[in-house]
Subunit: 242 residues, 2 copies
């Protein structure tokens, strides 16, 4: 159905505006994406409804709300306002599949998380677990992911879930500690949960204790690599040296 | 020497404020960094002077201007204002050295450029060439680089310089075109200029025509990797598979 909204006091506009807040993303299990590129990346079942300046050629099951520029400017987080904003549903993609699972331990930066999702999809990784589910649905995460979030199983994780995964997978954590295996000397197991950690503090002690092995990328001159960079090098290494 | 500045109309304050503008960075050959971590990463010869809330324990040759919070808030680009702002000199580091040179063809995103510099330093790369020198000295670039800019030779490049490098180096460009070598089948030459391209358009046609070979990282499901990610995978591959 096509509806027209004239007022920025309309309840649909207010609802969308609320979804900028992580608290409401969690409660409503909905999130917003801006622009045509991300809308194209979304699956039909991801989409709840769209706000748009002009009627779009979309599946007829999708409700379209035609709004004016003033409303778009109010809702858009991008500097130049978007021509389309889509409200999407957080789907229950709880499947754990594939020979390489990523586990993000308390990652904070949406740009890093998004880049990791984009990289993961590019290398056929299917499942990503994060200690915070809502970080997947931050607008900046989604932008950096280039829409990869719509094609991955995204799960919320904790130490218990990680422990359960030990039945089928080896837990391999990154660490800068001394007794850590240099990536060049590491033989990847067949099925791996690769654990990467917080930008400032790395992987937590509890998880390091639980891990089957810890590895590090050999670097010089500087304390650490960006976590997105480190994850990408490890994924490529896993996929090509096994 | 230690000086005290009370007014935000002071000419030093105005001078520092101007250095937020790329035009003045170019003209003055100066740039600003915020915070203690980056100041620690700088070499003595990089530093022109500091603005600080409290006298710092620095080499006595460095002029310190003690300022108040109001001035810091005015000058700081970070949300929470910095306690120290340092004005640095763009040095003439024109040396081309090492077996791997990076060439950034029209990269735009400061976060990407900074991450590439951080990664480069971590893998002992010495020289980075960019088609735009000023992008190295953008505040966001410097932050993402984690101070790596102070330990690299940073040069401005163009097609002529690139052509000159062909005497000593093989030019290897990334490309998503069809007749491009898959990284898994690529044998790296001994001395390489690795060329990576603009976030939207990739490496320019002119440079692709000049290149000795074009390579691509095998990916699926998505158009491309983030340029910082792709560069890191290529650097690690060069450093470990030669």
């Amino acid at each position: 159905m096509i509806y027209k909204i004239e007022s920025d006091e309309n309840k649909i506009v207010k609802y969308v505006n609320k979804l900028k807040n992580p608290k409401y993303i969690k409660e409503e299990k909905k999130f917003i994406i801006e622009g045509f590129h991300l809308l194209e990346m979304a699956n039909l079942e991801d989409i709840d409804f769209v706000l748009t300046l002009e009627k779009l050629d979309l599946d007829s099951s999708i409700n379209q709300y035609i709004v004016n520029e003033k409303i778009m400017k109010k809702l858009s987080i991008n500097k130049s306002f978007s021509k389309v904003i889509t409200v999407c549903k957080i789907r229950n993609n709880q499947k754990i599949e594939g020979d390489l699972i990523l586990y993000l331990d308390n990652l904070q930066d949406p740009g890093n998380i998004g880049t990791i999702l984009r990289t993961a999809l590019a290398f056929n990784i299917k499942t990503i677990i994060s200690t915070s589910l809502v970080t997947f649905y931050n607008q900046k995460t989604i932008q950096s992911s280039q829409g990869a979030i719509f094609h991955l199983n995204l799960l919320k994780g904790d130490d218990k879930i990680l422990f359960g995964l030990k039945n089928d997978y080896k837990l391999i954590a990154t660490s800068l500690n001394e007794n850590t295996i240099d990536l060049r000397e590491f033989n990847w197991p067949n099925k791996v949960v690769l654990i990467v950690g917080n930008e400032g503090n790395g992987v937590s002690k509890e998880i390091l204790n639980m891990a089957d092995a810890t590895i590090k990328i050999p670097i010089a001159n500087i304390d650490s690599l960006n976590v997105g960079i480190a994850t990408a090098i490890l994924i490529y290494n896993f996929k090509t040296t096994k």
